[in-house]
């Protein structure tokens, strides 16, 4: 079963490989992993999609916290979050089929970012299943090159994985009060 975890870690050399290793050595399969800085330049957010039984999640989270670099881990449930992925795909597109491809691109609300005499390069974002469907539609044409970012995910509404919480100089009570005020 696919489980999405959002992990805040200290932005340190080797941290991504340490997190990835901590999954693989326990035998968990990583379906996708994506990392990038947050608004706090010392904190990296890693989104991991794991193939794991749901009752294993608390244990997986506890094992992550064994890494001193890990600051905060949350499971992002499907109903309470949304996930997006970006894909760039280069398709062989002679003059004869180009307009067919453009039609498919329009239907999927994708965009053409580069074009040459023989190829078009398309950018598409969305949930992974949409990207999968898009690939299927393009398959009759020749796929030359394809690259996906893997999922990134964020919680819906007011609930959040607040990076300010891991900043030891921030007073948690004040933070909570501030958020109440905003509401």
């Amino acid at each position: 079963m696919a489980v999405t975890l959002a992990i805040l870690v200290k932005d340190q050399a080797g941290v991504l490989s340490r997190i990835a290793n901590s999954f693989s050595r326990r035998g968990y399969n990583i379906a996708s992993i994506a990392a990038g800085l947050t608004q706090d330049p010392d904190v990296t957010r890693i989104t991991v999609k794991l193939d794991v039984d749901h009752d294993q999640v608390p244990l997986v989270i506890r094992q992550l916290y064994k890494q001193p670099d890990v600051l905060m881990v949350k499971e992002l449930l499907k109903a309470e979050s949304f996930a997006r992925e970006l894909m760039l795909v280069k398709v062989k597109a002679d003059a004869g089929v180009r307009s067919e491809i453009v039609t498919i691109v329009d239907i999927f609300r994708a965009g053409i970012v580069d074009v040459s005499f023989g190829t078009v390069t398309i950018q598409i974002t969305g949930v992974s299943s949409k990207l999968d469907a898009f690939i299927e539609m393009l398959r009759p044409y020749k796929l030359m090159e394809l690259v996906r970012t893997g999922n990134i995910a964020i919680s819906r509404g007011d609930s959040m994985l607040d990076v300010r919480m891991v900043d030891a100089t921030v007073d948690l009570d004040a933070l909570a009060a501030e958020d109440d005020e905003d509401d």
């Binding site: 050399a13 080797g14 290793n21 608390p58 506890r62 916290y65 001193p68 030891a168």
Partner: protein, 578 residues
Amino acid sequence: MNGAEAVVNFLMQKGVDVAFGYPGGPVLVLYEAIYKLKFNHILVRHEQGAAHAAEGYAKVTGRPGVIIATSGPGATNLVTGLADAMLDSVPLFAITGAVARKDTGRDAFQEADITGITEPITKASYLIMDEKKLLSIMEEAWQLTTEGRPGPVLINIPKDILALEMPSEQTPLRPFRRVEPELKKSKDSIAEVISMLKAAKQPLLLIGGGCVISPEAPASLEAFLKQAPIPTAATTMGIGTLKRDHPACLGFAGMHGSLQANEALDQCDLLLAVGCRFSDRVVGNPKKYNSNTARKIIHCDIDPSEINKNVQVDLAIEDDAAHFFKALSAAFRKAEEEDKADLEEWLQVIRPWSDRLRETKAKMQQVITRDYFKPQVPLLPEYVLSEIAARYKGRDPIVVTDVGQHQMFTAQYFPIESPRSFLTSGGLGTMGFGLPASVGAAFAAEGRPVVAIVGDGGVQMVIQELGTIDANRLPIHIFIFDNATLGMVRQWQSLFFNEHYSQSELNNNPDFVKIAEAYKIPALNVETPEDLTQALDRMQATEGPFLCRVFIRTEENVYPMVPAGKNSDEVMMPGMDG
């Protein structure tokens, strides 16, 4: 002050009174600082020896064992020791030299990515690339060794940083807050523990290494057992928490544990497991163990990632063992005040269970006395160990073993008198652990006897450490159990591989007595009961190290035995029916 002096100063400020290590290129500056600052450093004969010696020291004292090694091969030689410490929760602080920063990643001479190599077998491994963070990172790492569940850390320092004049101010590490799921502490569920206990007719307390490590756990366990004498079994790592002659003590459970402990593990209706991790040597088949739904399991461990890892439990407590026993005592007292009659009734209910286990214990004792304790030639390891143990009775010896049959025989027949006094490689099962671990133990012994029981296989993996023992005239009593075979391998081959003794024979063992003597360590051969008595007499009368090569029966197997992947209901024990 250069980086090296800052490192040595740091160690001295932490109260480190001994480090174990081996010099080499990138750490020469560090050894210059050790020389100048007169830091107490013990030169081992192989870096693996340094790691195990540091483990021995840390296991006895509870303080981090410190290791120093050079880059590349020096560092990779630590790997087995670090992995061993990781599995047995031993605090180690390993410092390795690395090639200069400008050479990093260029496959320079003696370069190996030890930070990466040790990442999965340490709590944390660091490569220092900024001299302004050297001491801040060392401080963080030092705290990590003993924080929560102890374990090893490694700090890899490039040689140019060691040689560099230290900046007057260090950059403090940015403080972060970890936002973790709240721990389920003892106080939150102690009432539930009490009610589960009172509902049980056949409760068992299983104590693991966490009860040895937590300084106040053994005393608070004993205090609780005074209130409620629940049958108590240890895991191999928990040996020493409770004295063997304590009325509640069943000995240790698991693959070669006592019959009564394994009977209890199999038949209990409530298992209260504290500071243990349900290793496959304790519960071979977790699925089957869990399939008995009539049995309730309570698991208390300081490391929350151990809960529900191997065995699914009914109640989880994420706490230190001593906290748990204290909370349990207090709650029990309260329950007693509220309804004394009710509790006394419960104590009556569990009595037949305790009596039954005691009967098994007596029955097993009969077999042992009848079959194993008779003086004979070739000597039986059971007999030899009970004779050795008798010589140290009441002297609170530190008993160190290697890995294999002799290890299990020692666990069975050498009564341990206090916590932190049975030093063995439990999780990793590292042959070669024993001799160097006894070196570290000798530096922590404060006058207590150090007894190293090792096999003829394991000792040959680390025999060069006799040099360290001689150089420091360490008063270690070494017993090599020589059965001319890799005993435990042979045992499995005899039971499960059609007696095909593939590559397990050691029938050209060297003359260990001559080897010891070459290292200026007095030594004797022991072949008969009379030899043993004389050797033990000589040993007691000799100052400093002493070695006995004890020839024992090759065919002797360790029993009881629960085969791998099975549970304690399938224990093998020849002679029990006779």
